[in-house]
Amino acid sequence: MTERFREELRGICGASAVLTEPVQLLTYECDALPHLRESPALVVLPDSAAQVQAVVRVCAREGVPFVARGHGTGLSGGALPVPGGVVISLARLNRVLEIDIPNRLVTVEPGVTNLEITRQVAPFGYYYAPDPSSQQVCSIGGNVAENSGGAHCLKYGFTVHHVVEVEAVLPDGSLTRIGSRLADEPGPDVLGLVVGSEGTLAVVTKVVVRILRRPETVQTLLAAYDTISAAGTAVSEIIAAGIIPAAVEMMDALAIKAAEAAVHPNFPPADTILIVELDGPAPEVRELFAMVEAICRRTGASTVEVAADEAHRMRIWKGRKAAFAAMGRVSPNYYVQDGVVPRTKLPEVLGRIKALSERSGLGIGNVFHAGDGNLHPLICYDESVPGQAELAEKVAGEILTYCVEAGGSITGEHGVGADKKHYMPRMFSEHDLDAFQQVRDAFDPQRICNPGKVLPTPRLCGEVPGPYREHPAERAGLAERF
């Protein structure tokens, strides 16, 4: 990277918005997956779409790779810098541009946080549905990149169901609108492709989201079970009764213990806790909630606690949402995995995970979105014990194998990023991956837009698609995968 290049970026964004000092770059070395780190050549902090466009244009002209970054809360290394490349931080594009209540649309810049949208429209009785656990801090641009979900996506879907239009800079530096505020734009659903593309197809500079009317009623219950399979039976019966809850969450004993230690939600002692939330018009919720309560009792819940008021409901959710961070209370280190299985395969896969925990000697806590089969095993380890970090990573990988073997996915909401790209051949054939690359090349023929993420390319020579195998160069310590 030449000094002329750096000067050009300073000319675009202002000298103070181009960071090149190693100490300044430290913050940007990783996202919320701290074991993958790279130092970028520089970081730019544009404060307008025009500046983003100008930066990308210069990168495109010079063939310099760039990585867009929101608030760095991603869990798959999707914002991991490229050595020698540029990080485009979108933190300063944080304006709420338009609130259109009659049409239920809010236009924001990508650096606005997820929860800020709800904060802005709550006075009107509306909210933004996708609610990843990190919603207080994560950026909407990052949500678009990752197609973020949350606890309520069983009923309400993911980011892709709530974003109607984006403005984006394509890797060649052109600024374009993708999608439309109006329904039924003719042509293929390019927006549906871009949402969830993990920042590899475009840099989003404006997002139009759909907001929802607050449901008239929300009711939440917490049921305690002696076995995870009894709780699983309850979930199956709820679904079989034709009820789609707003959320169905499960936590196992280790996760309960951790949450209790961290935020004292006052959960009952149990092997498994099931949280079920229904929302909607009051008469509907009243009627269906009684059915859910009956199912929980019939399937052997030792206690069924119905949230009496909003404070009680928030306490239950606080315990659930804190579960990840709370693992720190019961284990020096932990690894958050994200995998998906068909809902009916949950008992089988949880059984395999339990056996794996016993076999490996590592504690594994389970917190998961039971309604949609999205598992979040938390693998506990102690990095001060030689070999345990590596073991934890291996155990995490083994769990993904169980997910794929059960007909599921290697990621339900955290993304592939840099972390899981070498698992992609477990889910997809060489042809599938080639087609993904073709699509990517259609947007980014120079391969400069967040390279090294999502797809396991460039493959090491001799690597064959299929289950992960160690490459001879890796075994010899000559190469490693990121």
Binding site: D184, P186, P188, L201, R343, V416, A442
Partner: protein, 412 residues
């Protein structure tokens, strides 16, 4: 001459836009489908995908049809995982057959196409939808996995069979609405919904559109959660009438309560519809734009789709009324989504002028697309009204470099 394996001469029953195809291939597997596409690409043979042909006249007019690839025989696959609320189904299976199978286990794919015989592949390729989109969205919102046959001869998949999955690019969404211009859909996996226990519809009839628009805004602003929320304008023996339909589906008591609550918000002449009467009313609503219920309209009238911001419903209805001065008109719309179908009767030049008017910058509607229209009309106005975006065009070049798919009919 390119050799298309297992190709045969086309029959009039397989016509595309009224033209009998020279050659029809009816592959029985994804691999065979991809092989046909690869051969067609090698020979640069313009190719049109066909399901059951319910929308085969859509698109820019064609002069000749060289090759039709029929998905009719991609119809053996139907795996219903009712415990997981998912289904994997071949592209050639009709929505009607699919939903009959799903209903045996109390589930459904809530896509209410106007076309009874439409196939899964056809519904996806056109992102077909009906009044149920108010609650369930369009097919793209329910799609969780897809298998595609590409023009380079490969069969690829994207997504999977689980409802939550962010691994890899979502090629399923990409081909939704592509009209078969990017790849052939071989099979698709959807998330499903339980069939509602009960349903009822409030109908409110108005002599003028303004109070309807005001009532619609009141319902939209409230906390009612209709499953369908529609408007229509059609001539009746008493003159032009404006009708709002609000459908609730839930448990019986909840349906009754919501219906009562909705009634307090509307000022038109209301009636509640249930069971057979309700079913027929919605069937009629879905068909109105396409079939000829009244004497002033004919089976070959143009059908134009357009969209609007929901807050502009009143302006849209006023525009529909104004168009009626020149053309025969019927209108059905989705109030929540802001999308509707205008049926326009009259000479091609009159209808073309009406379409140009809809496309003016000052018009309250956008994305004005001619779905059905005579060949003359479709040469007077561009069917799509817009050129593909740069990314869409680049994707077309990447996935169909020979440019054979959909034979230039658009939208790509």
């Amino acid at each position: 001459m390119t050799v298309i394996q297992h190709g045969r001469g086309g029959s009039p029953g397989e016509a595309i836009d009224g033209i009998t195809p020279r050659l029809v291939a009816e592959p029985t597997s994804g691999e065979a489908c991809a092989a046909v596409l690869a051969a067609a690409a090698a020979g640069r043979v313009p190719t049109v995908m066909r399901g059951s042909g319910t929308k085969s006249g859509w698109g820019r007019p064609l002069d000749a049809v060289d090759l039709v690839v029929s998905t009719k025989s991609l119809n053996n696959l139907l795996v219903h995982r009712d415990g997981d609320l998912t289904v994997t189904v071949g592209a050639g299976v009709t929505l009607a057959r699919l939903n009959t199978a799903l209903s045996a286990r109390g589930q459904w794919l809530p896509v209410d196409s106007a076309f009874v015989g439409t196939t899964v592949g056809g519904a996806l390729a056109t992102n077909d939808s009906g009044p149920l989109r108010q609650r369930f969205g369009t097919p793209r919102d329910l799609l969780i996995g897809i298998t595609l046959a590409l023009t380079d001869g490969r069969v690829v998949k994207s997504g999977g069979t689980v409802v939550k999955n962010v691994a890899g690019y979502d090629l399923g969404k990409l081909v939704t609405g592509s009209y078969g211009a990017l790849a052939a859909i071989v099979d698709a996996t959807f998330k499903l919904l339980p069939l509602p226990h009960a349903s009822a519809t409030l109908r409110a009839v108005y002599t003028d559109p303004e109070p309807l628009a005001a009532d619609a805004a009141a319902i939209a602003a409230g906390q009612l959660e209709p499953m369908a929320f529609d408007v229509r304008a059609a001539d009746t023996p008493d003159g032009l009438r404006w009708t709002m339909l609000v459908r609730f589906a839930s448990s019986p008591a909840a349906v009754a309560a919501q219906l009562d609550a909705a009634r307090t918000l509307v000022h038109g002449e209301t009636s509640a519809m249930r069971e057979g009467i309700e079913t027929r009313a919605w069937a009629e609503q879905v068909a109105l734009a396409w079939e000829a219920p009244s004497t002033s309209l004919g089976a070959s009238d143009a059908v134009v789709r357009c969209s609007w911001l929901p807050s502009r419903l009143g302006e849209v209805l006023a525009l529909a009324r104004a168009l009626r001065a020149d053309c025969g008109m019927a209108f059905t719309g989705r109030i929540g989504a802001g999308s509707g179908l205008l049926r326009l009767a009259g000479g091609d030049h009159t209808v073309a002028a009406a379409i140009e008017q809809l496309r003016l910058d000052s018009s309250p509607v956008g994305h004005v697309v001619v779905l059905r229209g005579s060949r003359v009309l479709r040469s007077l106005v561009d069917v799509w009204g817009t050129a593909p975006s740069a990314p869409a065009a680049a994707l077309k070049r990447a996935l169909d470099p020979a440019g054979i798919l959909n034979a230039g009919r658009g939208p790509l």
